[in-house]
């Protein structure tokens, strides 16, 4: 049973897909309900997995491995050569990401109520997207990872391009091309590894790259290892995104439907961080170490650059977009710190930003539904007409600027803790960003909620109501929970982090 639980989890959205697919396309209510219900099986399964973990069941007992593809006909050398298995696995890190995925997916499915047309296609793509995300975090080999990775790309392209705002097509193109380039780099790196070693299993590759395995074919020189590590880092830096590679993501944030940005900012971007940890750091610890300075530098630049640009945006969505860049900069800084504090901080930041961004975009969606705009100059004084909304917005903004008691603080604190140890100069430069973050978030949030009430929102029945409390409260609750009891999140991560640190050679 355990062995199939993981595949069941990954493919459980298929149930929802089937239900939605069987619906006639005009049944708006039913489709929306089924679409939401479709996200529940993975949610419950992930909770079940989590409870199993806490009750002491080893996560590795959920691993599954089935024969899948064998390339070439090299049986006479070694039957395992050039085989790609269907293998899913779980560790603390992926468990955390899976939980993030299932929770945010369910909430985003709920927030998709704002979708006005084409519900059937929307939910089908949505659920496919969820399969992709779940797969990415459980894949045990690179090819499988890549397949799931691309599987997130295509539905997201359609979801952005079809259900987005005015310039949606352009945004979806940017999304596609940038991610296409990123995944092209990724694919090349993956395939070089595959071609030279005959395997794509992450554990086996880690073994070979760190201990030095025997290669039947052309060997991987050490300079090529640097290249591969760099390729992984860049590919995932595009996904993350950090400074020079960010412009696609700004458009996506601005043009995609808010429910999809919840997923996008909440989970999809996080694949970048996950990838860097798993592949860059995991497979090539030696090489990664020497790239660390560059990674931190990239992180610092993104952190400051995002913050500075967020300062002058007039579209709230763009503020959030640049804020995401800035926050992903923190992730990079943590990843480049090469110590426990940094790495754990980066992971925390990933999760925390996932939750916060999801919540912010949920609120953006709710506001767009009411006012039709989130342009800051057109808004103001929402605290009067929508006090509850404004409260959530403020809370969320504060979480985003790293207020203690919320998840953002823990991550930023740990990242800086780590960074001051390993790169004190860059760390010292980057702290300016902490102030800037406060400035731009307060500017944006206060422009919306404070001041004279002369915004468009001046109708009856404005504040959040009914179901809208669920996503807001759940997300805020999680943000607070992690902020107050960080070990809930930190506990399952310890194993992974320890292993990484061991590979990186101590703290």
């Amino acid at each position: 049973m355990n062995a199939y639980l993981l595949s069941l989890l990954v493919f459980s959205p298929l149930l929802g897909i089937l239900m939605v697919a069987l619906m006639p396309k005009n049944e708006e209510r039913t489709i929306k309900q089924f679409g939401f219900f479709g996200t529940l099986p993975p949610l419950f399964l992930s909770f079940f997995l989590c409870s199993q973990h806490y009750s002491g069941v080893a996560l590795s007992s959920f691993n599954i491995k089935l024969d899948w593809i064998r390339f070439g006909n090299l049986e006479m050398y070694d039957p395992k050569l050039f085989t790609v298995n269907f293998e899913l696995g779980l560790d603390g890190l992926s468990l955390i990401f899976i939980l993030l995925t299932t929770i945010i997916s369910s909430l985003a499915a709920m927030a998709s109520i704002y979708i006005k047309q084409g519900w059937k296609g929307y939910y089908l793509l949505f659920l496919i997207l969820e399969i992709g995300m779940l797969g990415v975090f459980t894949a045990e080999n690179l090819i499988l990872f890549f397949i799931f990775f691309e599987m997130t790309l295509i539905p997201a392209f359609f979801l952005i391009g079809r259900w987005g705002f005015l310039e949606r097509e352009k945004a979806s193109y940017h999304f596609l091309i940038y991610n296409g380039i990123g995944s092209a780099i990724l694919l090349v790196a993956i395939l070089i590894l595959f071609a030279r070693t005959g395997t794509t299993n992450i554990a086996a590759l880690t073994q070979m790259m760190t201990m030095g395995g025997v290669s039947l074919f052309a060997p991987i020189s050490s300079s090529m290892k640097y290249g591969l590590c760099l390729a992984f880092v860049i590919a995932f830096a595009i996904k993350l995104p950090v400074f020079p590679f960010h412009s696609w993501m700004v458009r996506v944030h601005a043009e995609a439907p808010p429910a999809i940005v919840m997923i996008h900012a909440g989970v999809l971007l996080k694949i970048g961080a996950y990838g860097i940890i798993r592949f860059g750091m995991g497979i090539f610890p030696e090489q990664y170490k020497s790239l660390a300075f560059g990674i931190v530098l990239m992180g610092v630049i993104s952190f400051l650059y995002g913050a500075l640009l967020a300062l002058v945006q007039t579209d709230f969505k763009l503020v959030l977009a640049y804020s995401s860049i800035s926050h992903m900069g923190i992730v990079m800084m943590g990843l480049g710190a090469l110590n426990e504090a940094g790495l754990q901080g980066a992971i925390f930041q990933v999760i925390s930003h996932g939750l916060i961004a999801a919540m912010l975009f949920f609120l953006v969606g709710a506001l767009t539904e009411r006012s039709g705009t989130v342009m800051l100059p057109k808004l103001g004084g929402l605290a009067k007409s929508m006090p509850v909304f404004s409260g959530f917005m403020l809370a969320c903004g504060l979480a985003s600027l790293g207020l203690p008691g919320m998840s953002g603080f823990i991550s930023e604190f740990m990242v800086f803790l780590g960074l001051f140890k390993s790169q004190p100069v860059l760390a010292a430069i980057s702290v300016i960003g902490l102030v800037l973050t406060a400035v731009y978030i307060l500017r944006a949030v206060m422009l919306m909620t404070f001041g004279k009430n002369d915004s468009l929102v001046e109708k009856e029945k404005l504040d959040l109501e009914g179901w809208e409390f669920i996503p807001a409260l759940v997300l805020l609750g999680l943000i607070l929970l992690i902020g107050v009891f960080p070990n809930l999140l930190g506990g399952p991560l310890q194993g992974t982090i320890e292993a990484m640190m061991l590979a990186l050679g101590g703290r």
């Binding site: 500075l308 640009l309 504060l398 008691g405 803790l417 404070f450 004279k452």
Partner: protein
Amino acid sequence: MMENAWLIPIFPLVAFLVLLLVGGRLRERGAYIGIIFTLASFMLSLLTLMERFSAPTYKKTLEWLTLGGTQLTAGFEINQLNALMLVIVSLVSLLVQIYSLGYMKGEGRFSTFYAYLGFFTFAMLGLVMAPNLVQLYFFWELVGVGSFLLIGFYFYKQEAKAAAKKAFIMTRIGDVGLLIGIILLFWETGSFEYGEIFQAVQSGVISDGSLTLIAILIFVGAVGKSGQFPLHTWLPDAMEGPTPVSALIHAATMVAAGVYLVATMFPLFLASEAAMQAVAITGGFTAIFAASIASVQKDVKRVLAYSTISQLGFMMLALGTAGYVAGVFHLMTHAFFKALLFLAAGSVIHAIHTQDIERMGGLWARLKWTGPLFLVGTLAISGFPLLSGFFSKDEILMAAWTNGNYFLFILAVITSFLTAFYMFRLFFMIFAGESRRQAKQVKESPAIMLLPMLVLGVLAVISGYIQTPWFGTFLGEWLVEGNETVLGAAHSEGPAWVMILAVSVALAGILLAYMKYARTKLPREGLVKENSTLYRVLENKYYMDEIYYFTIVQMIKGISLFLSYMERFIIGGLISTVTGSIEGMGKIGSKLQSGQVQQYGMIAFLGLAVLLVIFALTGGYLR
């Protein structure tokens, strides 16, 4: 009792949550929830303090965050300093909440107000109970948020909005310094716990340079929170908040957190001469700097705000000159009399609905209770003999003198004079002279407001007696108990003329103010002419806001705009160059596709020819 002390901050938190969830329905009744929970918290604090007199420091921690091999903990600690702080905070909070019941009458968002107050009280209590630096920082920022929320309580007012934002950001700058300090300290000592840090500091494992750096960084945090120069500008603006808030946060408690921080980290500061100097000089300069501004301000709350800054500078000065006890003592007395002054000012504002002192006057007769209470506060802050401020200020001057820092001592003396002067200027302009209003319009505040003021008035008078040169130095002895070597003497002994000097400059200041503003014997413009450059400089607070605006704010805006243009044109241009060149290749390609079949053949032939020629020329050795 002490093992249950963790309940102290929990009570207001519960009040906050309850009010947040059901406050809307409770309306004004919500206030009672806040008051009851704060009362519980106050009682508990009082009991804890009582117990602490006899019991040793109590500390309890739990695992909070695992960081590789390090365990960060959370918990609480009850030592002398924070037991005292608990009482001050919960008491002032309680009184302010009772007072607000009257002051905020008619306000629609009553429950929100009390919820915020509850949140702030929770954070402030949590801050003082923190047993380690991370937790301190945790609550340190929460306190800031509480302040932010309350300053921006009138969210629809443009000024309130700006002030709230400014307060948050300016203090955030300080907070960042504190954060770095904490982090560096962790890497130097391997711990966030006070005890372990101090041990490491005393064992001398940290180099002098980094010690100084860390201490100064931590002090930067204190500068931000306590409104010290140059991060002081938010505090006067913060007066946009409701007056009770100013009394609670921007007079008695939060702004004192900086002083509390330096006091808590005192052993660290002591280890670095330079850091101590920095603290003392900043404090001294801020004291006189703010006092000079306060002398010309016309808004009653702003005068009080600058006075607060100035007094906080005093406390820093005390700490910086090794006057641990003096600093803490002044912190306590200041909390009482400054809260009293604010509440009294609030009562005045409540009565006549203006904050401009030039439009006040002659209220002494009308405000039978407020007037005397205001006077008590004014006397206390001016260092009038036998009131609390007299003793604590005396303690500071003694500390400065014994420390041998005569320049700072002189600064302190001048500031004392200025303090007395501007406070009485304020007093006389409000209460003396002719009334400018109809009697009917001016009403004394209700009892619910007067009662807290009365309590504070009593405390402003008597609280000084726990540490006097005459009746014993009970407070000091208790505070330094067990740590005498580190925290220094319980009382600074100094020549008697210091006290006489202090009294005489205070009296001189009062006299000057009396002549100018009550009797109008001297022209009001005697000291500094209106419209003179100096006056304008003072009135505009040394143009600090403008300087910041035109340098830092504009610079950051400029950079941001520059970057956003860069984003649009350079990065955008780069992208369009790439796409454009690909498109261009496509264009050329499709141009070549002219439809002329012979041209196709020609191109193919050329392809063949090129292949053959290359092969022929290289003899097939191309590689």
